[in-house]
Amino acid sequence: MSGVELDPVIHAPNRLQICALLVVVSELEFRLLKAQLGVSDSVLSKQIKALEEASYIDVIKRTEHGRQRTWLALNRSGRAAFQKHVQALRQIIEPGAQALNQSEG
């Protein structure tokens, strides 16, 4: 018997997408993330709050050219959690695929 650890914070579809987008960049702006996910401000804020409470992302507010922009970044623990989550998904799939092939054989 083996235990596979899936992260409950990252497991939610919107949060999975947020983490997956943030892992390939250094920082992403709130409005761009909202457009990419196709969700409302309130929905995105709620998801970000959940990730922030889990200490997975950093929310950085900067004033650029007299306009405040909110940037989001996946921090070290967020990256580690995301990586672990992806590995857990692979662990679920790979033995499954092997079992499937064996049963077919």
């Binding site: 018997m1 235990g3 899936l6 892992v23 390939v24 990419q36 992806v86």
Partner: protein, 190 residues
């Protein structure tokens, strides 16, 4: 959330909720990895430079390598290399600030060993092309310096156009894509 797997019984528990079907968990994992693969494409589109900028960057890479290969065969290649390096650097700066104005800040340095490995492979390939180009030019086969450097420029263009997210941040996403392809092969076997 702890997913206990028991292959001998074929049953799984997902936290407090028991999932009896092995297939259900597999499908859920496949669905999540499919989402990750779609996000990888989305991220590539975000990081993709416009065609004109990609052409400038790839042409600069081509000329930098060509000039480095032929530097021993003419004094003019020295300043050509200088100008092309300046063009490459300017192109990278434009790329960085363009992405920033759109709302994306790129990763400047790889965070994982895999990212450094990708850089090392590309650097080694570039060095190999310069050495081979110089050697072949010595033997009078000038055209090969153009062909090899041009090939590298084309590879650079294709990667920046199609796999920019993978190039910039390989690692977890690459793992997701790998699993995604495993999924499709699994689906074929079904």
């Amino acid at each position: 959330m702890n997913v206990e797997k028991d292959q001998s019984l074929g049953s799984h528990s997902l936290g407090d909720t028991s999932i009896d079907s092995h297939e259900a968990l597999l499908q859920s994992a496949h669905a999540e990895l499919a989402v990750l693969q779609a996000v990888q494409n989305q991220a590539s589109q975000l990081l993709r430079p416009p065609v004109w900028l990609n052409l400038v960057l790839s042409a600069s890479v081509f000329v930098v390598l060509l000039a480095a290969s032929l530097q021993n065969h003419g004094s003019h290649w020295g300043w050509i290399q200088g100008i092309s390096m300046l063009a490459l650097f300017s192109g990278l700066l434009i790329y960085y600030f363009r992405c920033k104005s759109l709302g994306v800040k790129q990763v400047m340095w790889p965070r994982r060993g895999y990212g450094w490995l990708v850089i090392a492979v590309f650097a080694a390939l570039g060095a190999g092309i310069v050495t081979a180009g110089d050697h072949l030019a010595d033997q009078g086969l000038w055209i090969w310096a153009y062909v090899l450097s041009g090939g590298y420029g084309v590879i650079n263009y294709v990667i920046m156009d199609r796999y920019s997210a993978w190039l910039i941040a390989p690692g977890p996403m690459a793992a997701a894509v790998k699993s995604g392809s495993a999924k499709s092969s699994g689906a074929k076997s079904q």
